[in-house]
Amino acid sequence: MTQHLPVLQVVIPLVLAPLCVLVRHPRAAWALAALGSLCAFGIALDIVSTVLASGPLSYDVGDWAPPWGIEYRIDAVNAWILVIVSLVSTAVVFFARASVEREVEASRVALFYAAYLLCLSGLLGIAATGDVFNVFVFLEISSLSAYALIALGQDRRALAAAFRYLIMGSVGATFIVIGIGLMYATTGTLNMADLADRLPGVWHVRTIKVAYGFLAVGCFLKLALFPLHLWLPNAYTFAPSAVTAFMAATATKVAVYMLLRFFFTIFGAAFSFDVMNLDMVLMPLAVAAIFSMSFVAILQTNVKRLLAYSSVAQIGYMILGISFASVTGLTAAVLHLFNHALMKGALFMALGCVAYRIGSVHIDAMAGLGKRMPATMAAFVVGGLSLVGVPLTVGFVSKWYLILAALERGWWPLAVIVLITSVMALAYVWRVIEAAYFREFPGDRETREAPAALLVPTWALVVLNVYFGIDATRTVGVAERAAEILMGAAP
């Protein structure tokens, strides 16, 4: 049975999704979603340990041998992504039971979980597959279900936000499929490993460079790289709390993974950096993203929106890590994929707790909550500190590697920028803390602590934030292995 794990990882959530539609009962649908997430998480853990112990796994769907058939190929890089996605999904799904009951109409809850499972399986599929067209198919599965999930938000503007996301997402997906098509036209293959073999022979062909351009812009759009991030703030702000936590922690991460796969595994680091000068493209955009989006975040009054802009800035850190074009830089980027998923998951879930009790995540509505909802706000504070990069949290580990990579490359101004923007992060996190702890609670509202059903998953992620901040050997080990694979230094 274990040899089927790579495909089961993706197929189990995919099969459970229609079951959710069939059973229609909200709690039963939730149970199926929880089952799917747990299975995916368990399988991901098994896969990652296998991959680390004995090298990449390969699975031929339908017994068609690659490069003709579809191959699922899992090495340290995507095993890691599978862990991130399924871990966050598991935490969010336990959080979602109470949160979704409050925020989504009862008649739609079953459909919600169906879409959730589809989105999960799409994201896992993108990560697991070794076939570029399959990437596109799973990208569409995850995106379409994501649009539906976002549209389920309470606010009327959720629909408009989902629609804009749909347009932008479709443009991005189209660009990616155009890129894939151009690659296929030039090389006649869709298998990643095969493409990697054949592409060096056609580096000089213009079609390949154009394909590269389309893939780059498509990925930039999907991962919300500044200035193509415009769809993200609204989508995150108006989606149901659980969806925001899930999407923020996984969707953009998987898009970054796509970028890494396309540019490092398929085209190769040499082509990306020597021929296409990818580092020179990415670095200014990353710096602009970090600076301008951190600044925008400082000025926000809706905390969900604030964190959404912060996400764009944090994506800037990952891209910055990639732009260093070194193993250390990629380690930082891959590490931050995981760490940022942990912190943003925790933060958005804490906000979900606030929304559950107060119904608003406006900064003024959070005044005095430090006393009324101590556990929730404590979770927010720890998550926020992690975002700032305070030692003993995962944020510090990421920043540490980013700065090391900057210094290694001799670009110390970038190291300084990373430190300065940490202070900017402190500024926007502080605004929330200030409201929660230093302002008086308006006396006319009765507010209690969020229920344990919400707090337990939130704190689970918070604890992981601290745990992997202190004991970073495992995460750093995997990230380094992944970075070596991507740079072509290890199989």
């Binding site: 089961l8 099969v15 539609v21």
Partner: protein
């Protein structure tokens, strides 16, 4: 339109043929142009036509929303079920060879069943989409 005798009669007569043609497109999909996606749309088209002529309510009495929605889900299960069946018989996921004693027959059977899943899903999704949109317009007016 309910009073238009010619239309009502023509629609009633055409519907079975459309359905049969849809099934033909499906079953012949592995040898000639066609397949699950097209067949599903053709099947759905029959009901779309019927509801245009006889009204949404009449069709929904025969084919309620919950049924078509379940179809959408069921088809996926059929598809994945074939995959799992192959897995249970010792092949990889969707490895049709294992479905029958003769690999070639297995391929036939597998593709047919998978396409059947696709037919059911596409039919369900198309009809659901039509229902949802048609319903929306009706409520507003």
């Amino acid at each position: 339109m309910r009073e238009e005798l010619v239309l009502r009669l023509a629609a009633k007569m055409m519907a079975p043929f459309i359905l049969v043609f849809g099934l033909y497109v499906h079953f012949h999909g592995d040898y000639s142009p066609g397949g699950g996606f097209q067949a599903g749309v053709i099947l759905a088209a029959a009901f779309v036509m019927l509801s245009l002529v006889f009204g949404l309510d009449a069709v929904q009495r025969a084919l309620p929303l919950w049924f078509v929605r379940s179809c959408a889900a069921l088809g996926v299960l059929v598809y994945a079920g074939v995959g799992f069946a192959a897995m249970a018989l010792g092949a990889n996921f969707l490895g049709y060879d294992a479905l029958a004693s003769d690999p070639e027959k297995g391929q036939h059977l597998g593709i047919l069943l998978v396409e059947a899943g696709v037919v059911i899903t596409v039919f369900g999704v198309m009809t659901t989409a039509f229902y949802v949109f048609a319903d929306r317009g009706r409520r507003k007016s």
